[in-house]
Symmetry: C2
Subunit: 369 residues, 2 copies
């Protein structure tokens, strides 16, 4: 893609933090759930190094919530995912693959349990609200389904605990991974989870009510001056190094959870009546024919990966690369790809076809980050 | 919004025409159905004047199709919309509001009927596929629902008939408004409809198969040199002048069809079992409390409308402006707004609150285009 501007319109929604993002000098965006998501502030590499050494505040309001309330809420969410939620407690967050009747991934959200009759589904980039409403409507379930005024703000990086403790108190350090607690900010109780779309550690604050969004943004910025806090955003380099998958990039509705390394979240013996069970059971029995793998592309920096790049071996198609970027820390191009079973072993030498020509590629043993 | 670049990624999908769009010098995009949609080539005003005097080829591949096939296809599509489809013939296109159980707009697509058991739904900007799949899945209907490899290419402008006749033959001139015929291009049969998102006249070609996309683009460009053909795109000025509504901008799930001027497409006495019938019947009985109106904002050009602008009268909220731009041909700022009943009469003087301050506004009698 040639560099081009993003045209503003109401349809591409601003967030409750957009004023802070603009003030911090955002340089580029993507659109995620029909909402602005920053992609660079200083530069991709400067943001990356800073994320790994300091602390950043991220506008991830585009991780919209689907709120389920009502007597059938728990029944509905278990119908939607093959992951067993029976033992999930209020205060827990579960990563839950959600599939259609054919087992194709519709989204890979995080379920947030407030109570048996009150859940949030914190979504990746698809209008999962329409699926959930469609299922509940046609199934005549007693549950209300809405997108509430809740916007996640992430605090990520090695100094995230220190910054958060200054704003929310020392107890915030005790929140365990993928758990959340309720913390007060200016009289408002907010859910604060230890989670986030980086491998550098940190939190996601579910900011309920747009009115306190910029006060919280400003409070975090003011409290973190000596920690070198800066506005940031999910960083392409850091997420590919860490093997954090991106729905729409690394997997789509054409993929099942087993292909995406999410087989461990498919408890098909326990959850026997979820949507897509029969299709998933067939994949589980046979094993997936392809799977996501870390791919190393040695040599100079690859171009921007704006489309799937074919992977071949001896001229025959064996998969595709879906995310790729130069990693300064690892001195190679790091990539995420989908590779067929016969070629997915670590060390397999492949060819990747980029828009700027063919390159050697190797299936890596592990992600880097 | 401050000017910022759009970051490329696979998730924001390129189209089968992107190579042509780039070659034509696209300057900016929006993202529509998670796909690139160009917004300017030369400049907003230059594109506008050209659209009104010549002919443009538009990459509107982002108008994705939902394909319904199977014995329950007709039953499903009638369940989805309050518009009576009983007399719709193969070869017809119907604008069909689609609502949820509360009567809220989920999309305002065009239904394209190929046969009783074969339909396309040509969608605006929401993942309506998930709603349709959810309804069909939970309702156990016998129908397959997919997004096919079909990408609309629009040919718009006063010289559209001449250009199309050169590529598809003279018979294409006989296609009537919101009808389609089958026309051959390089051995492929394509559906060609007289439709499109402008008031300048023209066609939409449903390009089935990405392999012939660029050959068709190139053929149209080559055939139209003396007609001053140029790459174009839906133009903000021209669409607001013409009162062409934009889902996500001028209406959302918070609005019902009556508010959007789509009451004429709600045949509630005939279609008694569509989704949302009870909610729509209540609105039909009481009349909507607000409705979309053309709004004129006299004086200098308004800033870019990237969020809803409150409309007030005597300091009290009476609605909002959702699209607004300077119109060179009409010498005023043209706008689309939602206005409450007490103030929606033509000539009512209001105040609109833009991010750059308050401006006088007037409810207009008709759209301009």
């Amino acid at each position: 893609m040639v560099p081009a501007l993003l045209s503003p319109s109401r349809r591409v929604r601003r967030t409750v933090f957009s004023a802070g993002v603009e003030r911090a000098g955002v340089k580029s965006y993507t659109v995620y759930n029909r909402m602005l998501l920053p992609t660079t502030f200083r530069s991709l590499q400067e943001d990356y190094h800073h994320l790994k050494r300091a602390v950043q505040v991220w506008d991830v309001a585009c991780e919209r919530q689907i709120e389920l309330r009502g007597p059938d809420a728990a029944r509905l969410i278990q119908l939607l995912t093959p992951r067993d939620l029976a033992k999930m407690q209020p205060g827990q967050c579960f990563y839950v693959p959600i599939v259609d009747g054919s087992g194709g991934m519709l989204n890979d959200p995080v379920a947030v349990k407030h109570a048996e009759d009150h859940w949030w589904i914190s979504i990746a980039d698809s209008d999962l609200l329409l699926w959930v409403k469609g299922i509940a409507s046609a199934g005549r379930l007693s549950v209300t389904i809405e997108e509430p005024d809740v916007s996640p703000l992430a605090v990520q990086g090695p100094r995230a605990d220190d910054l958060m403790a200054r704003v929310f108190g020392e107890d915030v350090r005790k929140v365990r991974f993928f758990r959340f607690g309720t913390f007060n900010f200016q009289g408002r109780d907010l859910a604060v989870a230890r989670s986030g779309y980086s491998k550098q550690g940190g939190f996601e604050i579910y900011v309920a009510g747009g009115d306190i969004a910029m006060p919280l943004w400003d409070a975090l910025m003011a409290a973190g001056t000596d920690l070198d806090v800066h506005a940031g955003c999910p960083n392409l380099i850091e997420r590919v190094e860490g093997g954090l998958l991106s729905y729409g990039n690394d997997m789509t509705r054409a993929n099942n959870p087993f292909e995406c390394g999410l087989g461990k979240f498919c408890n098909l013996d326990i959850v026997t009546d979820c949507i897509g069970h029969a299709a998933l059971a067939r994949v589980a029995a046979d094993g997936p024919g392809q799977a996501i793998r870390p791919i190393s592309i040695p040599g100079d920096a690859v171009p921007t990966c704006d489309r799937a790049w074919p992977l071949t071996e001896g001229g025959k198609p064996v998969g595709q690369v879906t995310s790729a970027t130069w990693s300064p820390d690892f001195g190679t191009n790091v990539a995420i790809g989908m590779v067929v079973a016969a070629q997915w072993a670590a060390g397999t030498a492949l060819t990747v076809e980029t828009p700027q020509g063919r390159r050697d590629a190797v299936v890596a043993g592990n992600f880097w980050g």
